[in-house]
Symmetry: C2
């Protein structure tokens, strides 16, 4: 067996764009596909170094003791099986969203990670962009923003005819949650993030659900309600049938903000949002006393690499210092999945309110 290098060695199960995910403290060590031919083609197409191991099955990759961590961009219906196996093989697990078909499945994955002492994180890359931290500074500033009362998020993309007919995201046996699981994960995640992961008490799907002929959700909306003292309402809209949008807009008692590219910034090296604080109308309603202020945050690494960097840092801390895995990341994933499940349940009940 080769001597193990210092950086966390990643294995990837499935073929996915990985170029953005390389971080200084992570090494691509192995890839696996369901066939060795497919894996080799992927390696060649991506110009991977000859040092990267190529496996013709996920199991072989998980059996390699030099693999520290696995990035798993598999169809959702395969998560339970392979994520649990990865955890049992002591691999830290970076799992693509949606994390599972429901929170029951996710709990089995999280239990496997917990009992095997490995780090779990889902692939919500936008949480790792420095702009996201800056946004959080603003919305939890009682003077600039105050108490949040209205949050609205969208995550939409225009599915091509080909996508809508044959992409795994619209296949009931592969990604049964459709647009709700895929793009909806971001909308719901952003709403929870904005509430610092305090769960709503009621979730209500809106009666605008569009499904394909196989019953998979292509578009849906929902509203989210917290206990009365919170005074917060949120709405989400996710769709494979609409122009690209990823709006996060919020209003608080003292301020408001708009970020229209919260999932994937317009450009890679810097990202912005605007906010207004203490706005009122000047006399005679001829304008506002303050205009929106634009805040721009630069980023040296792509947000995917920042995610991998954070994940690998946790893995290093476990390996080097015997730390426990950071519970923040599985907690975030579990809450997101729980609320996503509630939206699904509301849809299945004919858009009735669902209590959490």
């Amino acid at each position: 067996m080769a001597e193990c290098p210092a950086a966390i060695r990643f294995g990837i199960t499935g073929c996915a764009d990985i170029a953005r995910k390389l971080a200084p403290n992570a090494t691509l060590y192995a890839i696996a596909s369901r066939s060795i031919d497919k894996a080799r083609k992927f390696a060649a197409h991506n110009g991977l170094s000859g040092a990267v191991k190529i496996y013709g099955s996920y199991e072989q990759l998980l059996d390699d003791p030099c693999v520290d961590a696995v990035y798993m961009p598999l169809p959702t219906s395969l998560h339970l099986q392979w994520a649990v196996l990865a955890a049992r093989k002591k691999k830290h697990l970076l799992l693509e969203k949606p994390t599972a078909l429901d929170v029951g499945e996710l709990d089995r994955i999280l239990e496997a990670c917990e009992s095997n002492g490995v780090q779990f994180m889902d692939g919500s890359m936008w949480l790792h962009h420095p702009r996201t931290a800056k946004l959080k500074d603003l919305i939890f500033d009682p003077k600039l923003f105050g108490q949040t009362d209205f949050i609205r998020s969208t995550s939409t993309l225009p599915g091509t005819q080909d996508f809508l007919e044959s992409n795994i995201r619209v296949k009931p046996n592969l990604d049964a949650l459709g647009a709700l699981g895929d793009v909806g994960w971001y909308c719901i995640g952003a709403i929870l993030w904005a509430k610092d992961y305090k769960l709503p008490i009621v979730v209500n799907a809106l009666p605008d659900v569009v499904r394909n002929s196989a019953g998979v959700i292509l578009s849906c909306s929902a509203s989210f309600h917290w206990e009365p003292a919170d005074k917060t309402v949120a709405t989400s809209h996710c769709s494979f049938l609409s122009h690209t949008s990823m709006d996060l807009a919020m209003t608080g008692s003292n301020g408001s903000l708009h970020c229209n590219d919260y999932i994937i910034p317009y450009q890679e090296n810097s990202a912005s949002f605007d906010y207004t604080s203490g706005a009122t109308f000047v006399e005679l309603h001829i304008g506002w006393n303050v205009k929106p202020e634009e805040v721009t945050v630069t980023s040296e690494l792509p947000q995917e690499a920042l995610m991998v960097q954070e994940f690998a840092r946790n893995a290093e801390n476990i390996r080097k210092f015997g730390n426990r895995p950071d519970s923040k990341w599985p907690d975030i994933s579990r809450k997101t999945q729980l609320v996503l499940d509630a939206v699904k349940k509301s849809i299945d009940l004919g858009c009735k309110p669902v209590k959490l």
Copy 2:
């Protein structure tokens, strides 16, 4: 009796800021308040010319045959009585929003206007801003924007303690519709405007209604649904308990737009919005292929003056050419009131869906 000048002579019932409402084809001819003292004070405070007649009752103003048109910014509960009387006295009627306590009342006002051949218009000044026309060009451009599928509008303002305790807008005997009638009129109006006044088939208040101790609505949200072929969902949020916001955001099949000051532009002489069309992610998700484009529209007159100008033009056409009143404006008001009533009904039913 003095000789009548060419411009349309306005009377104002009630004391309200009027400086923004002067248009080239309109003259302020008279004001009235419930007491002559109050009317005189208002005239002095606003530096009105000595030529402006001052009345100590609304009835006296409506009895003046030289008054061509009335601007009526009275509390909503007084609209039915005074608007019907104004129409009977053959005065064109510019009525502040909400137009009435319900569509039944509004119908009596509109019937009075119709049978007396006078123009009706409500005070939705933003409809008259040239930016609004530019926005409409965009959203009805099938190539740039495509079919509208998601509309969200807000209209919120932070009511001071004093406002929340004593403003007429939160008094059940004066403006019983509270925030829904006042700021909500804009939200709902904007949604209908965006659908070219095609009515939704279902309206559903969201369970986040806040009322004051007298039962008047201080904050509420709603969703709006069109027939399935339309594929449109809209959400509104109006509040007296939140930071100033007036967002109109829309997504269509080919484009999206954001306008965050649709009711009162940030500044008076120009106004903007941004839109994105044909956006997708560049390879590897490192950004968008197109960035939002900002469109700026200049305006020589304040939107209130543009509204009065349009209203006075209609009044002139009736006087000079014997035209019928333009039915566009009462139609818009009636549809807005109808949908507002449906939101109110949904709230009263405990946020159940209401069919239109």
